[in-house]
């Protein structure tokens, strides 16, 4: 029977790999996800029915409860709230891994008769328990803080207080110390083992909070990707605890996925991971509605939906540059409708997506997909950057730092960050509520450029107005 179970785990791991492989193209990705889900089903059923489960009905109950909650969350979420949901799921994943490791410990210290072939908790296993609990709990609390920031419940600004760095280091030191105590006491003094793992769990939870709290809202793509990586590593560590290959393989694959995304995000901002994680970057994000005045002696040229309609409808090519503001205004449907009306008039419309636009890797792509924008109209930065020079109108919708020419100059917070070269277009129309700087806090010269026209107001209302104008033209 053991062999059959192992084979089932192997099949599951193989299905995960094939499934992830299919994520390389939008055409095959859905099937890939279904294959991975099938792999999960195989692994669960094999464990449930073939392994020596003592209380199968209890287990089925647990599976049903979890499945019910998960299904409701997945069905109800708005596409604009996707970053929050991914963060929450990450948190659950990390928590589950840590809890499994804790249950293992309880098994040993409780003097249970089942499971362990060697009834003593060996130092090697104890070490993997420490890793699993530490990573799992940090992932859990960190993800819920990220959720709070993404959903606006906590406010997106970095939170900092004096002694925070010290507290973080102290907690980390404490966690490592009690981890050491746990390993040393494993198999010796049960009370000490229990005490040290409980303290370790609590300090890891606190550590997760302190690690994410100082990081600002727009750096969340990096944080979510990194926590994703951690949730995988926590599962892998739990795999080491249980000596379970399925957990090790899948956990590691997820760890790699999260890590790759983290690196991509950091490169797209030209900042090191350490720089992002130590936080405190930027702040004055959004500044909702509080129209920052143009500085002394600078003028901006304002435009109206009517003028924008005329401008875009007589253009040969329009490139739309969406940013987080698009998600906030939920303007994706209006924008798509506008683009379609322009296309009917013979205008070529493309979308240029900066890798860190939005609050999660690929955030803009999901929003536009929801609005039924064909993905072959979406272009990555490197593909489209050369085209702005031959573009009549660049329409910037709720994006700021990713189009800020200051990034080309040395000596400011976003120096060296790759940007979309919208300023090379003949005319730039910026849909935005105010002149306030972006997340980085660096003023955007683009707004004052001669070729730039500001279309102030809510992106959804502006796009709506343009849509009606375009319909009236036809």
């Amino acid at each position: 029977m053991e062999t059959v179970i192992q084979l089932a785990y192997l099949a599951a791991a193989a299905l995960f790999i094939v499934g992830l492989r299919r994520m390389q193209s939008p055409a095959t990705a859905r099937r890939g996800n279904q294959l991975a889900a099938g792999g999960m089903l195989v692994a669960v059923l094999a464990t449930l029915f073939l392994d020596d489960i003592l209380s199968p009905w209890m287990m089925i109950l647990g599976l049903l409860i979890g499945a019910g909650i998960g299904a409701v969350l997945a069905r109800q979420v708005e596409m604009t709230a996707m970053p929050e949901l991914v963060a929450v799921f990450n948190g659950f994943g990390g928590l589950a891994s840590a809890l499994v490791a804790l249950a293992e410990v309880a098994q040993y210290t409780g003097g249970s008769e089942v499971l362990a072939p060697d009834t003593e908790l060996g130092a090697g296993t104890a070490f993997t328990v420490v890793l699993s609990v530490l990573i799992g709990m940090v992932t859990c609390s960190g993800s819920f803080v990220a959720y709070g920031k993404l959903s606006g419940r906590l406010g997106g600004n970095p939170i900092d207080f004096t002694g925070m760095r010290t507290a973080t280091l102290g907690l980390l030191g404490g966690a490592v110390f009690f981890g050491g105590v746990f390993v040393a006491s494993a198999g010796a003094a049960a009370w000490l083992t229990t005490l040290s793992i409980v303290i370790l769990s609590l300090s890891a939870l606190a550590l997760g909070v302190l690690l994410v709290v100082p990081i600002g809202g727009a750096d969340m793509p990096v944080v979510v990707a990194l926590l994703n990586s951690y949730s995988g590593l926590a599962a892998a560590a739990t795999g080491f605890v249980l000596g379970n290959i399925a957990l090790i393989v899948s956990g590691t694959l997820v760890g790699a996925a999260g890590f790759i995304l983290t690196v991509i995000m950091c490169e797209a901002m030209n900042r090191s991971l350490v720089n992002v994680l130590t936080g405190g970057f930027g702040g004055e994000e959004g500044a909702a509605g509080a129209a920052a005045e143009a500085p002394e002696g600078r003028t901006v040229s304002e435009t109206s939906p009517d003028d924008t309609t005329i401008l875009t409808s007589y253009a040969d090519q329009v490139i739309i540059v969406p940013g987080y503001g698009l998600a906030v205004a939920q303007a994706q449907h209006q924008l798509r409708e506008m683009a379609e009306l322009l296309e009917e008039r013979g205008v070529t419309v493309k979308y240029a997506i900066h890798p860190v636009a939005g609050r999660m890797p690929g955030h803009m792509n999901v929003l536009l997909a929801e609005a039924n924008v064909p993905y072959d109209k979406l272009f990555e930065m490197e593909e489209v950057n050369g085209e702005f020079a031959q573009t009549d109108v660049a329409l910037v919708v709720g994006a700021n730092d990713v189009v800020n020419p200051a990034a080309r100059e040395p000596g400011n917070d976003i120096s060296g960050m790759p940007i979309l070269n919208v300023d090379e277009a003949e005319t730039v129309v910026v849909m935005k509520r105010s002149l306030s700087p972006g997340y980085s806090g660096v003023d955007n010269e683009l707004f004052y450029a001669d070729s730039t026209k500001m279309l102030f107001g809510d992106a959804k209302e502006s796009a709506d107005a343009i849509v009606s104008e375009l319909k009236a033209l036809a």
């Binding site: 499945a67 996707m82 499994v100 089942v114 590691t252 990555e380």
Partner: protein
């Protein structure tokens, strides 16, 4: 040691497969991968289902529920997203906005 070998090879494999995923699919990749990390559900079944009761049973049961939320929710929401991507292929735009239908 064997486990460690598996770990290292999986890391290489993951890097190999996943670095080729296009930006468009980064969000579904993340949520799909996240669902896969819910493989801990197997560990939870073992921990909860084979324990002699007491603390380990309760911790295991809680882990089971939480991991299942992660697995089922993760795969479903990824499917929902990928469905939107897949539709783009057939009907090049034009169709009803997906958001209206899902709700």
């Amino acid at each position: 040691m064997q486990n460690f070998i598996v770990f290292v090879l999986s890391a290489f494999l993951g890097n190999e497969i996943l670095s080729k995923v296009p930006q468009t699919l980064h969000t579904p990749l993340m949520s799909g991968a996240n669902a896969i990390s819910g493989i801990t559900v197997v560990g939870a079944l073992i921990a909860a289902g084979m324990s002699g009761g007491g603390w380990s049973a309760w911790l295991g049961f809680l882990a089971l529920v939480v991991a299942t939320i992660n697995v089922v929710g993760g795969f479903l929401v990824t499917d929902r997203m990928l469905q939107m991507f897949a539709q783009k292929q057939r009907s090049s735009g034009g169709a009803e906005p997906e958001g209206a239908k899902v709700k």
